[in-house]
Amino acid sequence: MVASLRPIAGPVRNYRFPEFIDQILPSGIRLVTAPVAKLPVVTVLVIVDAGSTNDPPGKEGVAALTAGLLPEGTSQFSGAELAEKFERLGTSVESGADWDSAFAKITVLSDRLDEATILLGQMLSAPAFPDREVERLKAERLAEILQLETEPRGLADEKFSEFLYSPESRYSKPDEGTSESVSSLSREDVERFYRARYRAGSTTVVVAGDISADDSRAVITRAFQHWASGSADGQQLVAAARANRKSIHIVNKQDAPQSELRVGHLGLPRKNPDFFPTLVMNAVLGGLFGSRINLNLREVHGYTYGASSFFDWRRGPGPFVVSTAVESEVTAAALREIFIEIDRIRSEKISEEELSLARDYLDGVFPIRYETTAAIASALATLVIYGLQSDYYDVYRKKIRGVSAEAVLGAARDHLHPSELQTIVVGDARLIRDSVTELGMGDLQVHEP
């Protein structure tokens, strides 16, 4: 029947991350262009140093609200008119704020690029923040917060952040704000935030796709000519842990058929020098289908549909977290396996097999990550936001291949902290409380959502 001999790989074919031109326009705006002539499509991604970590205390959510309001009206057009104009060109604006930047993005066919980009520039430089739209977007955010009360995955993520970071840390609250903070936001808050942060020196436009560097420069120069000069001040980020001892929190959800689990602690800032060994270590621990945590919980025990771990890389120390959902009955058993895996990767070197799986995957999958203009634009935005070297994507694969088993062990010992693990369970407290207490993973508290 089928040939029993596995085929051997052919010679590796060369790949280079698309070349890009990085320049400062006369307005002070930075422009990064990656001409990629594959299909007649272009992505324009505008990033502004106006992410959620810049929210003033008590005003959590203002960065997200400001970015969300950008397409909702200018001095010239209403939000409805803007939507219609973009959509007639076959595109629409996606805008929002992450922890580290605000963004507005369009993907458009190349023959409609000029018109769409001019409109995008107008939209970003003259937003009107109409009262009615401010109130509507606030109400929509409040509806979203309500939805979370019955959505166990989102609720678990949110509670995890809340129990992980000290209350004065911006990371302890949702990036889009809490019901209290969002309710308190006014049009003036938005306007003030916009005036302070949306400035040429804090703005980068990334253009990727079917366009030349010259055409990109011409259209972006024209589209972004009215832009306030200067740049915004950086804000001091507080990102301390709430507790320095391990503890367990059960968020009670009566009759839940599953428990949503989050286990972790503070991770590392994106620019930590151990980024690459930590990335490879996490791939072995829980970053791949064939990782220890997924194979253990899913394929050996059948406890779950999937389990994974990751470091959420931000400018400040984002969380390290193991996430899964398991049948209520096996909650404690599954948690025990997670703790065992975290201990195990710290106690002995990973095997050559495991090391090569993680390295070969991260190295080999590299070109597959950049098939679309949107993915290329987003990769370039990462360079800008975290201030990475311009050859970052040229040396990435070499750095991955250079990680040794010793370096992985070092990363596990230095950056995984079993004594600080915070465990959050969203599930039926009645069913799981006793067995989870017996795990001895710190004080246990039960919360009503």
Partner: protein, 436 residues
């Protein structure tokens, strides 16, 4: 813009489509088996999907979970998915590893059964039961698909039963079922293999012939019961689900023309015009202007047999009573049914669809998947290059014909999710007050 398409058929019936693109050293392999939940026997709901899981449990020359490991070790991505009418398996790999991906697919198409054990079946049964708990039972509105199927298809219709399956039926599945399902449906003459990306056509042909050529043709599959359905439900259908949700949400379905027909493209444009992005009718009227909804959208199931479904999906704002939500959506549907649509709206919808089409074809995996789809449903992978034209041919007139025919009161099925009594009603009112 034209995607190159080349086809051939092996003697055992395997239909192959190839699409070259050398812009990056990447190749996608995509295999569609023409079997889905519609082919399940009574008492075995969920089996097609459970079987999909078993295909990752090894085959004659591949160990348990080794399929995943070998592809990831090669730097590739992979998965599978099950739908009412088909099951697909796919890998995107660095192009120098293309032979491996093809060989792995051939090994499990040819010799799956030697690797099957009771223990593996039991574990995957538990994994799938947890998938059901995760995606359906413990997720707000997670039962939408199975409740909708139950509501809109007659009881004997192959599309009527649950795709993920009931816990009882999953428990009942046996190794015998696995063997039988494999012999009946996982045969080269019931599959389409597509390869897109960076490859040498002569070389890839020789790999495919070598690996898949020896697999014997199947003995044919049992015909599905009659799938055809009248154009409309014939009366108003309605079901209210009291569930663990925070906000009321209405899914209103219409029977609509099957995927691939000329009328389908008019329906797809009608769906975009109603619910695609913020300029759409429902978003503008219900979210922006009247502010009774937190979100509004519309989509089609894209069923190629029997009858497709067009579904409007609107989530209420906390302060909107469910009766009002229903009333306002009905009003919008009455309006479009009575007055029709404008040429401008149709143009907006087509422009958005066209950009999405081009943007999605950037990925080799998407190209391969669509080639498999058009080859499986219609025997014509070339259709991948005709989509933009078929959309551009849609006019206000053709959308109006569709709307007149399908949006009447005799063709509306409402599935309405309402928060269980007592759940969070106090905090809902508080938030509503805070919002106004």
């Amino acid at each position: 813009m034209r995607i190159p398409v080349e086809t051939f058929r092996l003697d055992n019936g395997l239909f192959v489509t190839l699409s070259e693109d050398h812009t990056a050293p990447i190749a996608a392999v995509n295999l569609w088996y023409h079997v889905g939940s519609a082919n399940e026997k009574p008492g075995r709901t969920g089996f097609a999907h459970l079987f999909e899981h078993m295909l990752f449990q090894g085959s004659a020359h591949v160990g348990s979970n080794e399929h995943f490991e070998l592809i990831q070790r090669a730097g590739g991505t992979l998965n599978g998915s099950t739908w009412l009418e088909r099951t697909n398996y796919f890998e995107t790999v660095p192009s120098n590893e293309l032979a491996l991906a093809l060989w792995l697919e051939a090994d499990r198409m040819g010799e799956l059964l030697p690797a099957m054990t009771q223990e593996k079946l039991d574990t995957q049964r538990d994994v799938v039961k947890n998938e059901r708990r995760w995606a359906v039972d413990n997720q707000p509105y997670g039962t939408m698909l199975e409740k909708m199927q139950e509501l809109v298809f007659p009881s004997s219709h192959p599309f009527q039963h649950s795709l993920i399956g009931s816990m009882e039926d999953l428990s009942a599945a046996s190794l015998d079922d696995v063997a039988q399902f494999f012999a009946t449906y996982y045969t080269p003459d019931n599959a389409v293999l597509s390869v897109a990306g960076d490859f040498d056509p002569a070389e890839v042909r020789s790999f495919i012939t070598e690996y898949f050529g020896p697999i014997p043709r199947g003995k044919g599959k049992p015909p599905l019961p009659p799938m055809n359905l009248p154009q409309v439900f014939g009366s108003r259908l309605r079901e209210v689900v009291h569930d663990n949700v925070s906000l009321p949400r209405l899914f209103m379905a219409f029977r609509s023309p099957v995927f691939g027909s000329d009328e389908y493209y008019a329906a797809s444009v009608a769906s975009a015009l109603l619910g695609m992005r913020k300029g759409s009718r429902l978003h503008r009227a219900l979210v922006r202007e009247r502010q009774i909804a937190a979100d509004a959208g519309a989509f089609t199931f894209d069923l190629a047999k029997g009858s497709d479904l067009l579904v409007v999906d609107v989530t209420a704002r906390p302060e909107t009573p469910v009766a009002r939500l229903e009333e306002e959506v009905e009003r919008e549907i009455d309006l479009i049914h009575r007055d029709g649509v404008s040429e401008e709206e149709v143009k907006r919808a087509i422009a958005l669809i066209e950009t999405d089409l081009v943007a999605s074809l950037q990925s080799a995996g998407e190209r391969a998947d669509r080639l498999s789809m058009f080859a499986t449903y219609f025997g014509e992978p070339e259709l991948i290059n005709q989509q933009a034209d078929r959309y551009r041919r849609v006019t206000a007139e053709s959308v109006n014909e569709l709307v007149t025919e399908r949006f009447g009161e005799n063709n509306r099925a409402s599935l309405i999710y309402v928060p269980k009594e007592g759940i969070e009603s106090e905090s809902m009112m508080a938030a509503a007050a805070g919002a106004s």
